[in-house]
Amino acid sequence: MTLGDILVNVQGVAKHYGEGETRVDALRSIDLRVHAGEVIALLGPSGSGKTTLLNVIGCILAPTSGRVELDGDAVFDGKWLRSDLRRLRLDKIGFIFQAHNLLPFLTAEENVSVVLDLAGWPSEKGRARARELLDYLEVGHRAKAKPALLSGGEAQRVAIARALANRPRIILADEPTAALDSGRAQLVMDLLRKLATEQEACIIAVTHDEKIFDRFDRLIHLRDGRLVDT
């Protein structure tokens, strides 16, 4: 496989929470490159720093030190280099959260199209795109339901649709298939794979789900905040 552009380039990133006795070193000198078209899994025991790393890549969390480049642009080097981090997230990054975090006052369809709305899509086109994604993820029939009425798996698929809506090139997923049965988990992996190839995107997914390990190009292991070779 020929490798595409480097979409995520993390160099010497460290992150600790708290100071003194309460200090927790969640990440210690992480180096990671992810190319367009790659689907990689982030593995490791609980507390090893997986979520922390995703948040750093997603520009939600400032690392203590190190450098982060996204899609060729340096965004962090000891400090944030861009002031419009939210616009960056809207355009480049799709999040699939561990807790799905849908907006309770919007329907499934609106939860997806709101992203496109924010990105400036005409509402008709946004709705059509939302429907298309929901249909593909087999939750199209629940498009008009509010999140409170969705099952865990349905809500998770709506959240995935939201993450993919604006065709981001970097998709960060924290346990994307945890709430899904294995058939649907395979479907989501198919979708992520298709996205990676067609849109030249990269996917970094935290997972414990051994059934889908073979669907990743690379498995990256974290232990005590360090990347370890397997």
Binding site: T51, N55, I60, L61, R86, R87, L88, R89, L90, D91, F95, F97, Q98, A99, N101, L103, P104, F105, L106, E110, S113, V114, V115, D117, L118, A119, S123, K146, R162, D174, E175
Partner: protein, 377 residues
């Protein structure tokens, strides 16, 4: 996609309830404004009723409303003869209690000379006073109707007509009688000692006195010149209509006005705090959703709009409900509640500003929230 409205519709029942609560608060604020206006309007009603240009009263007094005034009844002839005066009338005021239909009525008795200034401007029902004795025109609020009779002093008066919005600054409804009847009523209600004197035949000692003489001027007549002329009679003073109105507002209504004004201020402050609290709480409950919005890339503009729009919708609906309620109940108040469109407009302005400031608090909290708080894991 309007997030503010979507969110409101999601929790519609609660939002409507909140608006209704705020609406009740606004009703109280509007009622207070209305009562204040009513107080001023009522107080001025008695001064405005005769449509006079100048008031001639006892020297050294600010009569006849702010202070008691007593001048000889024949002053009217002297005033009427003055150049520039079109017509003049003597007038008396007294408050008495009378029994009617098993109840005690507090009445403000106005004595005037039929055919001269001093009577009601409009007869709402029945006819005006004739020259015969013991006829009476009553304000509708007295509950009297034409044909009723009521005992005032030693005599029974017959109600021949009804007037509207005539009362003193205390809110006692007015009745009009002829000056002659009013004068004999005055005598009948004099202290016992005086009555004894009258019974002895000392009538001549006390010339008939009235509270004031009012005059309407010919077009183009100089009010200032006329009042100055009147003041040359050492026992008389004169006030223009405007001075009389200002005097009444300053002396009689002022304290009540400050009282209500202060209360209104407190009420508005309470409303402001309540609105601020509601909006702040509404925002705090949505913090996690706001964090999610930030996470998916929503700009501050979207988040500020969400909060400010909800605050405005809350404020405007509360005000609307308040207005609707006060218009429904205002006629059931024992005293007049007068609301001008101007008052509603000013209140709308105040409430919108309060909502804006209140949303400022919520906006601050919302803008500070870290998008990472949206992440559960």
């Amino acid at each position: 996609m309007n997030l503010a409205i979507k969110d409101i519709r999601h929790g519609l029942f609660r939002f409507v309830l909140t608006c209704f609560g705020l609406g009740l608060l606004m009703t109280v604020v509007l009622a207070m404004i209305g009562i204040y206006n009513g107080l001023v309007a009522d107080a001025l009603a008695v001064v405005k009723a005769p449509a006079a240009d100048i008031w001639v009263v006892e020297a050294g007094t600010q009569g006849p409303f702010a202070e008691a005034s007593s001048i000889p009844a024949d002053t009217r002839d002297a005033v009427a003869r003055m150049p520039g005066v079109a017509e003049a009338g003597a007038i008396t005021y007294q408050t008495i209690e009378a029994a009617h239909a098993g109840q005690t009525l507090r009445l403000y008795v106005i004595g005037f000379e039929p055919g001269r200034p001093g009577g009601p401007q409009r007869i709402a029902e029945g006819r005006g006073l004739g020259t015969s004795h013991f006829e009476l025109l009553a304000d509708r609020k007295t509950g009297l109707v034409p044909g009723d009779t009521i005992r005032l002093g030693r005599n029974r008066f017959r109600v021949v007509g009804l007037a509207e919005d005539a009362m003193n600054s205390g809110g006692d409804p007015a009745v009009y009688v002829t000056l002659a009847d009013a004068l004999s009523l005055q005598t009948a209600l004099d202290p016992a000692a005086a009555r004894v004197q009258v019974a002895r035949g000392d009538q001549g000692i006390r010339p008939a006195t009235v509270a004031a003489v009012i005059a309407r001027l010919e077009p183009g007549a100089d009010v200032a010149l006329l009042t100055a002329t009147v003041r040359q009679w050492k026992h008389l003073a004169a006030l223009s209509q405007i001075e009389q109105e200002d005097l009444l507002l300053a002396s009689v209504v002022d304290r009540a006005r400050r009282q209500i004004g202060l209360f209104l201020g407190i009420l508005l402050s309470v409303s402001a705090v309540v609105i601020a609290l509601i909006i702040y709480t509404m925002t705090m409950e949505k913090l996690k959703q706001i964090a999610t919005l930030k996470l998916i890339g929503a700009p501050d503009r979207t988040i500020v709009a969400l909060i400010v729009q909800q605050a405005m919708i809350l404020g405007v609906s509360g005000l609307g409900i308040g207005l609707a309620l006060i218009l429904l109940v205002k006629d059931n108040f024992p005293r007049r509640v007068v609301l001008e469109p101007f008052n509603a407009l000013v209140l709308t302005g105040i409430i919108l500003v309060v909502c804006l400031i209140a949303s400022g608090l919520g906006v601050r909290a919302a803008l500070k929230v870290d998008p990472a708080t949206a992440l559960g894991g």
